[in-house]
Symmetry: D2
Subunit: 316 residues, 4 copies
């Protein structure tokens, strides 16, 4: 049995750990395993390489993806996907593991309907896939965010000042939410529980009056114009403060232990599913158990984090 693996969409720390696990367990199961370079583009262009133990030696600890990734508009069209299938047939590859986010899974689902057995592995720092508690990359980025905030706190507490910190997440507030739960900030606004400018001012003012002068306000990207928010608070509370966008450094870095373990377990399951003849399924983790669900049951809309938001009330 010959299978392939590709990484697609934005890179996430832990992708290399997943590639390693897939290659190791594929070989353990007597499969031949091919790496597709640069995501779906590599499928279209026939850019594949044979992978073996030495291909994945010492990569588990590396950020990014050794297979490279891309966003590929051509694959959005039927014609592109036909080329991809032709490539897979040429290489006699009957199963494909796709490591990426929601967009990448949509592509995988279409390939599945074209007769290629496809399995998805959730690799995205945004943690915006509702079927799994954690995506590969989220824990690393969360640690990076908390490390950045720790640095910012050095300055905040030296100056008795407040800083707005904008973190990634696209339309999902998990990075902001978990950062706050972990004690990384005093005020938080996410797409799931959005605060108005006045709400934020009120909370901040309450903190300052109670003697807590260095505050971190964590917000998810795409929610506000951060400069406007800063100006609004400064004017309303008559203070001077700052805002910072953490930006692209959140994506990179050596993966955390959690992400490396998660990627390892998920990678093994993905190979097992292909062995079992499954297709159109995404691997996840729920309640500490590795699961798999049909692609059509995946949603990025409905994030039920009630318990976590209740905890916030007590911990902030």
């Amino acid at each position: 049995m010959r299978i392939g693996i590709l990484t697609s969409g934005g890179d996430a720390p832990g992708m290399n750990s997943a590639i390693r696990a897939v290659v190791k367990s594929a070989i353990y199961n007597n499969m031949k395993i091919f790496g597709v370079k640069c995501g779906y583009r590599g499928l279209i262009e026939g850019n594949l390489i044979k992978l073996n133990f030495s291909s994945v030696d010492n990569i588990a600890e590396k950020g990014g993806t050794v297979l490279k990734t891309s966003r590929c508009p051509e694959f959005m069209k039927e014609d592109g996907r036909k080329k991809a299938v032709d490539t897979l047939k040429k290489f006699q590859i009957s199963g494909l593991i796709v490591l990426g986010g929601n967009g990448s899974f949509k592509g995988a689902e279409k390939l599945s309907k074209l007769g290629i057995n496809t399995i998805g592995l959730p690799g995205t720092i945004d943690n915006d896939l509702n079927y799994t508690n954690y995506c590969i990359g989220f824990d690393t980025t969360l640690n990076t965010v908390l490390d950045c905030i720790k640095r910012i706190k050095d300055t905040n507490s030296s100056h008795d000042k407040t800083t707005i910190v904008e973190v990634m997440g696209r339309y999902c507030g998990d990075l902001a939410l978990y950062s706050a739960l972990a004690g990384g900030g005093e005020i938080i606004s996410t797409p799931e529980r959005k605060l108005s400018f006045d709400d934020i001012c009120e909370k901040l003012n309450k903190n300052i009056l109670s003697g807590k002068k260095d505050n971190i306000i964590i917000i998810t990207e795409r929610m506000y114009d951060i400069e406007k928010l800063q100006k609004y608070i400064e004017d309303k509370l008559n203070i001077s403060m700052r805002g910072t966008v953490l930006g692209f450094l959140q994506r990179g870095g050596s993966p955390s232990a959690f992400d490396r373990l998660l990627a390892g377990k998920m990678g093994v399951r993905a190979v097992q599913l292909l062995l079992d003849g499954c297709t159109g399924r995404a691997v996840g983790i729920r309640d500490n158990k590795i699961i798999d669900v049909d692609f059509k049951d995946i949603d990025i809309e409905n994030h039920n984090k009630k318990l976590e938001y209740e905890l916030l009330n007590m911990l902030l």
Copy 2:
């Protein structure tokens, strides 16, 4: 209602995050909360301080424990425990949260029998408590171990050499096991699945013959004389190699996101249990859910990690 919190036994990263969560949620619930300094010794000596928001400001990210800890032989005796109860009565404290490992829980259980409501929070880097998937501190130490191994790998791969790395864990192999699962090593021996010197040589030789010349052999402390093991391998395989004991740096450092979150959730539950009049129970996490169990159901012997050891076969 007045409650107390103490940290006991070896310190673990995340203890401060737990203290913060306990204080915040105690105040949220209109309790008065006291910190006992230096573990059970502080109880005996009456060394308590009132805690409030500012006591726990910006401590979630700090390693160690701001309340300090100790091992206290006097508390092992009935006389010592009587003094401890007297102190608690003097301070009108009816509930006590104990943050520590198995030994600390034994003490808490005895206090419970003397009429003090006690709740345990699992804080130990060894992860050797069988009732909970994770203890506070384990994830941070695992990340520290993997970071150290990454550094050692730089030298190993520059010299094409192998290094034996001894990690902590007392009688529990989890630190070694998870490090290996995460891709931190090629050969692993733990109390739960101990390899003989010859087993290790055989595996190492197989790797070297297949072209993998830089190997990490991870072993749990207290299993072997590491110098003897090194000498045995060198003689048998006619190679030169090295051994290193990671040592006490594994205990410290700023807690990881995972440990900070875990400590937060567990701390809130501990306060809730005291509110509900419970006693003699330890908080844990199982299958991603916060749980609590009776102290008498806690064991450090039986670590069922079958699934993980099966995974190892595929991932090493």
Copy 3:
């Protein structure tokens, strides 16, 4: 002899190491040493505390400043400065060590003229003081910048893309220059050697054509509108790329070994100068030797980095 120390302006990593060294060597020399809280504001408000060994215990490794800092408009006026002198007289303090940047030194110079012996220690991550090779904080921030760039490179090389990285430095290009010299980027523009949009495009295009597709363009803050620059390059070279502003996280974090050592040596010299009855002088390091110069010989304009820019030609 009684002396004081204050930190002023923006905080910088290593300030605490300097405070520790000043306190330790003041006590060694039988002086009494006072810490002024919140910079010059503390002088005006009489907010001083006595410092001793335990005040500086385990602070050398902490970011920010335990004495806190501020910008103080009142001190800009003669009236404010008179209040400051009154405070110092009240505390019988005859010598003051000021830890900060150019603005803080201007204040110190004025105090010196009012009869207070003042000595400056250069604490600024911008490294924009021309009389010293290095300011306290610069090396730490340089390491932070390189660490952030390393993370960004993970994504760049996974996507074969280029990122513009804006670093701090006010009007001084050292952070950008040294980051590039250290191999942190392929193209660099600083106030001292500014590239036009077209220069940048030309260099980038040359790299891409030669096969180097993941590039880092490092720019100093305040030079360009980063979004305009990104758009310009994208349009001209018909590529997709990204820009990121590292922002306030560059200020914080535990100081590097270099900054801790530098702060230690400089702190000792500052105390010695006060012992010797000197005033109006700033401590620096030149050619690996601790020096001191008159405040009036300090300039932030003339940065002679010819050798370094010549090196760049070879190393990029």
Copy 4:
């Protein structure tokens, strides 16, 4: 002109930065540059590869050495060196840059006498070469040591305990000395200023009596039996304490900014020296200026660190 570069002896962080600089500036000067694999062994076995820009792309930030290194007994003999010269002649290589410590320089000196122009670059974490203020790798390891000590301090201060920390350095005390100067420890013993067991006890006792209960005792490797020292102190002062050997993790890790810059400047100078027809010289840095000296003027015995030891008196 065709030149070669090899790394020899123990690896050190920053070696890759030096390789990058040598390759870049060699190409800038229209030379052809070859990398010798595995140190002198590669010379004997003819294991050389052509290096170009892409060979050194993104390696500046990597620990270890991409050229690999070894200790090579065969090269100690005349016969081995003759083979090495033959290889160089076969490849028409007239100049060789050797990156390593004192032992590697001895080999380079002998090659020089056999008619090969050789230049040495000092790469060793021990900093034990007397002609240069800093060797490549020392600053990174110093940061690693301070980071480890910071972790150990978390535990020490939680338990009010003292730990002995043994650091690397062979017969040179710089790592211990600079760690202590940077505020990493309270008591220090180095080959250059060795304390007796009783000296250490006396200092420690003084600290404990003055209220400083968590102490770090830094010692250089090869000086004492650390377990005996621990036992001696425990018995004499009637305390419980700990000892830890930092070990091989000190060698690895991503190089610091300082080492990356130093390696860059030194690498450029090495190429320039070969261009100028020089041989038998080692590159160093003294008083912040890149220098070069004759191999015969290098010594590892005489470390004049008077100033630093005087500073210690004030800073501990």
